[in-house]
């Protein structure tokens, strides 16, 4: 049984302008001790998926359908519809979380030690002293230099990388089975990003926890994840083992993203194969295959009318495209753009 299994999750926001389905039928599973990368661009629903798992979707958002099954000691419980009190024991207890901007996850008026100890005491009945000792241990675990001194410092006295380590320490307070990391290194510099990614990989190995890594950076996914799910416009368009996905991407979107990377290329010689058009916002997802207006392989009428299903094209490699594996020649200009 996987540690976490999401089945057909639908999370929508009800705004004055109408219903906005940010997550529209997402299915995922994460095995214990593995890292799943959830990749996508702004508005694709990757963060809303994470928030749904944590039961933190804020009004006017609502989980409308689907199951989120968490394996708890061999018994699977559905997080959807679980009362808030029980959810709270799972959040921070079974599932830890870290967010993009470490400064906003830390309270500026309390010391680091205070906040980490607080995270410990929220889920474990221990004395203040024991919590502080545990906090120190956690700071050591995330390899903060000179942890005794840091314990009594305030968040603003720490650097960005250090703060993210503190946030990770708080998330690990109760030894969660699953760590959800939403763009944990996006606000950090590359050399600091390297430190944090290395730390996460090391912690995963030592603590045996699973990680759901949400990011827009394919490079980060390639270097840290076992499995990858690519999201586009509220749906998963491709799911595979990381090695397989990067070796042989099947969905035109994934192919496009990889082809557009400028890595080790020179402008003088070859222009980048950019994906045309813009990233659709949840308010106006197109009909049919949601990528069709930007897809160079689009074929009428099927792509514009019929929603492709997520099918297993190769063992363990799922793709949501009518013609994946048999894309044919790319059109120079996608149909939709030509019409304008």
């Amino acid at each position: 049984m996987p540690l976490l299994e999401i089945r057909n999750l639908v999370t929508a926001f009800h705004t004055p302008a109408g219903r906005v389905p940010a997550v529209d039928g997402v299915s995922l599973s994460i095995e214990r001790g593995t890292t799943l990368g959830l990749v996508g661009e702004s508005g694709c629903g990757k963060s809303v998926t994470a928030m749904s798992v944590l039961g933190l979707v804020a009004s006017p958002g609502r989980i409308e359908a689907g199951q989120i099954l968490l394996d708890r000691d061999g018994r699977s419980i559905d997080l959807v519809g679980l009362p808030e009190r029980q959810l709270r024991t799972i959040r921070g207890g079974r599932i830890g979380m870290i967010f993009q901007e470490p400064m906003t996850s830390l309270n500026p008026v309390f010391t680091v030690g205070n906040q980490v100890a607080e995270a410990v005491r929220l889920h474990q009945k221990v004395s203040r002293q024991a919590a502080r000792a545990r906090a120190l241990e956690l700071l050591r675990l995330v390899r903060i230099a000179d942890p005794e001194r840091r314990l009594d410092e305030y968040p603003h006295q720490l650097s960005g990388g250090m703060r993210q380590r503190v946030v990770i320490a708080m998330a690990l307070a109760c030894e969660p089975d699953l760590l959800i990391a939403d763009e944990p290194t996006t606000a950090l510099d590359v050399t600091i990003q390297a430190q944090v990614l290395e730390l996460l990989a090391d912690l995963r190995q030592r603590l045996g926890m699973a990680i759901l890594l949400i990011t827009h950076d394919l490079g980060v996914v390639a270097e840290t994840c076992d499995e990858v799910a690519v999201m586009y416009a509220g749906r998963i368009v491709e799911r595979a083992a990381a090695a397989a996905l990067f070796a042989r991407p099947l969905h035109p979107y994934t192919i496009g993203l990889l082809a557009a990377r400028p890595e080790h290329r020179r402008a003088a010689a070859d222009p980048l194969a950019a994906i045309p058009g813009m990233v659709p916002q949840p308010r106006d997802f197109p009909a049919g295959c949601r990528f069709h207006p930007r897809c160079p392989f689009v074929r009428e009428p099927r792509c514009t009318a019929e929603l492709p299903s997520l099918r297993e094209l190769e063992p363990g490699h799922l793709v949501r495209c009518h013609y994946a594996g048999d894309l044919g020649d790319p059109a120079t200009v996608p149909a939709e753009a030509r019409a304008e």
Binding site: E41, S42, R143, A145, S159, G160, G161, M162, D189, V190, T191, I192, Q193, A194, Q195, L197, E198, A201, D202, Q205, H216, D217, L218, G219, V220, V221, A222, E223, T224, A243, F246, A247, Y253, G256, L257, L258, A260, R261, P262, E263, H264, R265, R266, A267, P271, L272, A273, A274, I275, P276, M278, V279, R294
Partner: protein
């Protein structure tokens, strides 16, 4: 254009310090040395990539050149004129020739103005053409950036990030400048949109003969678009070289670390990662000696005391005691290889970095020493 050999832009010993003020009387209690003595030149029609991490001063450097922030010392010569000596009126006319595109297309376009008002402002300030001529120029600039003329009547918030960045580029182009400072122009955009804007910039450079200063933290984009690259750390340039040279044979330990830290999707190109300890120190209190020494795995006694002077080999300039010594012993390729292997060895000793290392392999692009020379 008169002198083909003179660079369009020559920056020498540029310093921009910001005073730190405290108390009721706002007394100056210190200086943030955002840019602390940098020198480089850009030839007409070429692109210099300025890379570095946040807080290294690269954005301030770009703005100091246009005097959008006032430099405190040094010289900026643009097309033979000293920018720092110009009076406000002359500076304004110079600014027509040197334009800037900002990182955040949401912040850099005034939300209360239509696209037309935004584009027309510069033309009005510089009294360029009558109403019809202005309209023609604006339409032409928008067309060049791939935006229809109908854009003019709209407000910035009606467009997506990529479209706004095109509008921001059009605003710079409408004044027909020769030189553009591109300050992280694609960092705020979605991954699939970034390539569109990069292609646009490359195309404009080719068609209009523009000269770019491309400021970015994204090493792969800088490699793609730049002819020359300068690496900045804590207000200083640590290494400057032609792009192909720098990426093939980095010399400075910081450059090595920076390159190795970039996550890559290409498994065969994934390098042995050099993980730097610690954080970037504050530019208000830069360390003595080599500014990189507190984080440098190769730091020696001399690095803690003596600010390394420039060592030049061909067009490749580096500020590093270790690199200087290695260069004295052999050619650049050998020196780069040697420094890479020293770095990986140092990383292994720390016992931390080695754990994550996935595949160490060689490729024409990775530092030649990274794979083979591993002890």
């Amino acid at each position: 254009m008169s002198d083909a050999t003179a660079p369009l832009l020559a920056v020498s010993d540029l310093e921009t310090h910001f005073p730190i003020r405290r108390g009721l009387l706002r007394r100056v209690v210190g200086q943030v040395r955002a840019v602390d003595g940098i020198s480089f030149t850009i030839q007409r029609g070429r692109t210099l990539g300025l890379v570095g991490e946040s807080g290294c001063g690269k954005t301030t450097a770009g703005r100091s050149i246009l005097r959008l922030v006032e430099p405190t010392a040094g010289s900026v010569r643009f097309a033979g004129r000293e920018v720092r000596a110009e009076r406000p009126a002359a500076l304004r006319s110079l600014r027509r020739r040197m334009q800037i595109v900002f990182q955040d297309p949401y912040g850099s376009l005034n939300p209360r103005m239509t696209v037309r008002a935004l584009l027309e402002e510069g033309l009005l300030v510089h009294r360029m053409g009558d109403g019809r001529e202005r309209l023609r120029r604006m339409t032409a600039a928008l067309e060049r950036t791939g935006m229809p003329a109908g854009t003019l009547a709209r407000y910035p918030h009606e467009f997506s990030g990529g479209q706004r960045q095109r509008i921001a580029i059009a605003r710079a182009l409408v004044l027909e400048p020769e030189f553009l400072v591109l300050d992280e122009p694609i960092s705020a955009l979605d991954v699939s949109i970034q390539a569109q804007v990069v292609n646009l910039l490359v195309e404009l450079r080719r068609e209009l003969g523009l000269t770019y200063l491309f400021v970015s933290h994204d090493l792969s984009v800088v490699e793609y678009i730049s002819d020359d690259v300068a690496v900045m750390y804590l207000g200083r340039l640590v290494e400057t070289a032609p792009a192909t040279d720098l990426y093939a044979r980095p010399l400075h330990p910081y450059t090595h670390a920076l390159f190795s830290a970039v996550p890559s999707v290409e498994a065969e190109r994934r390098r042995r990662r050099i993980i730097l300890p610690g954080d970037v120190p504050s530019p208000a209190r830069p360390p003595a000696g080599c500014r990189f020494h507190p984080r440098c795995p190769l730091a020696e006694a001399v690095c803690r005391e003596v600010d390394p002077p420039a060592t030049t080999i061909g067009g490749h300039r580096v500020h590093c005691h270790v690199a200087a010594r290695e260069l004295a012993a052999g050619d650049a390729a050998a020196a780069s290889q040697r420094i890479a292997s020293l770095l990986t060895a140092a990383g292994g000793d720390r016992g931390e970095a080695s754990k994550i290392v996935a595949t160490a392999a060689t490729s024409p692009h990775s530092p030649p020493g990274s794979g083979k020379a591993t002890p």
